[in-house]
Symmetry: C2
Subunit: 286 residues, 2 copies
């Protein structure tokens, strides 16, 4: 069992990972080895102390170097579900189970809530994993929300199974051109259906009937991942110790609220790591 599972490879996750490593904790760190897309795409950062007017690429490069030097490792899997028990947490990532005594959400500014109805219909037509659930939709119509270029092969995989794919990409240069893929121009606003997915609602008001909806993004909305996690608007509610309402579960960085800033994220990641160390030491005494 791991001491801690960190979800997210942005500045908050990095800051926590560095500190947990210094405390000799055994961690599993889920995230994209290319690190934060948001940092990468920042043209100029003027307010991260120590780096005067730095480009996001340069800063991410410094982060990657530090990860390597400290012997840290990123696990490039998407966590799709978490269960809390007395013993700790079970995390499901690409159909494999990982166990950890604590969990840290460092999932970025993506809404912690997910889209309306997304959480309710998870497992009933809503899926986060093309490889896991794609086969269910042979000959059917699905919607796919794709949040990064690196998920395009999963879209192609789904298009190879489903009859028709309604695709919404959150980024500019989507490279998918397939006869059965229809590109949506308006963002997906909600999932429709009572007991299972019946369609998707777009921001422009149109409803498109589909049998399933895949959300391919860097991170699953935390409140969807872990039941009973308390939110505050679109953010995870934490106290000054980075503790959430779920014992053993912590959060840091953009997912806890504004300001969405690198300095704030590394600060909270640091605090969260220290709180995790304290929590683990209490666990040991029990």
């Amino acid at each position: 069992m791991y001491d801690a599972a960190i979800i997210g490879a942005g500045p908050a996750g990095l800051s926590a990972a560095l500190n947990l490593k210094l405390h000799n904790k055994n961690i599993i760190w889920f995230g994209n080895p290319a690190l934060s897309d948001k940092v990468q795409k920042s043209e100029k950062i003027a307010n991260y102390p120590g780096f005067g007017m730095v480009g996001g690429q340069t800063l991410n490069e410094a982060f990657r170097k530090q990860i390597q030097e400290q012997g840290l490792e990123l696990t490039d899997r998407m966590v799709t579900s978490i269960m809390a028990s007395r013993q700790g947490f079970m995390l499901l990532a690409d159909n494999e189970i990982f166990e950890a005594k604590t969990v840290l959400f460092a999932t970025g500014s993506v809404s912690a809530k997910g889209l309306p109805n997304e959480q309710a219909l998870l497992g009933h037509g809503v899926s986060y994993c093309a490889t896991c659930d794609g086969f269910l939709y042979a000959g059917k119509s699905i919607a796919v929300y794709c949040a990064a270029k690196r998920y395009e092969h999963e879209v192609e995989y789904l298009a190879g199974i489903a009859e028709q794919v309604h695709l919404y990409c959150t980024y500019q240069d989507c490279g998918i051109e397939l006869p059965n893929v229809i590109r949506l121009q308006s963002p997906i606003k909600a999932v429709c259906g009572e007991d299972r997915v019946s369609g998707i609602l777009l921001a422009d008001g149109t409803e498109i009937p589909v049998d399933g909806a895949f959300f391919l993004r860097n991170a699953v909305a935390p409140a969807t991942l872990l039941k009973n996690l308390e939110l505050e608007g679109p953010h995870i509610r934490v106290n000054r110790q980075a503790e959430t309402n779920v014992p053993g579960c912590f959060a840091a960085g953009d997912c806890t609220g504004r300001p969405y800033q690198i300095a704030k994220a590394v600060g909270e990641g640091n605090v969260a790591a220290h709180s995790i160390v304290a929590y683990l030491s209490e666990l040991d005494k029990k």
Copy 2:
């Protein structure tokens, strides 16, 4: 009137200053241009994201370069008193008054409380300013608490006035050797006296009778500076927005509590700056 007065030149103060500057706020930043002594003396820092295994001197050098590049300026004066009013704050620094709409404490890990009795006897034998109050002690006996080499000329100045000086230095290589200066081996633990200073109590239990006590340190304890500031143990109580209980007064970094870490400090400095910007914008609407 300044938009904000920042007290402290460590990572928290720097992070706030960078952000307030980006928001075009008119600030006065009190602190030592050599920046944080604590950072400077850190042999190796392994957990500040972006800098892999960096020495404190190198990091401070990067901070100083950034300060220069961003056109920020440090005012090397010690703030010795703050008054809050409806209009904002009046800060007394080396006998000059500065006005600011908001105040940020980024005063480091020095206890926010001061020594027992220090606050009660301020102005009644306790002083923070050799130049201001030294003349009162001609021919008398005083105690001096000296927290940094750069205050040694003030100790010499006091020794030129007082009959006898009981000196406690918090650092190793104190360079003062004068016939009327007695070096204390045990730290000063408390100030004695009811209506005015009658002596000092050392950690080893001895009480030394003196007529006055000078505390020469980088920062005056915040609760001594500003009346009614709420503490939590030795720290300033803040919420997640870095707000103290006094409207318009914020705090960030080590002075708000553990972990005493650079990453945590820059995070809180960033949050505080954003809260100050929001507060100023509300002020403008009034």
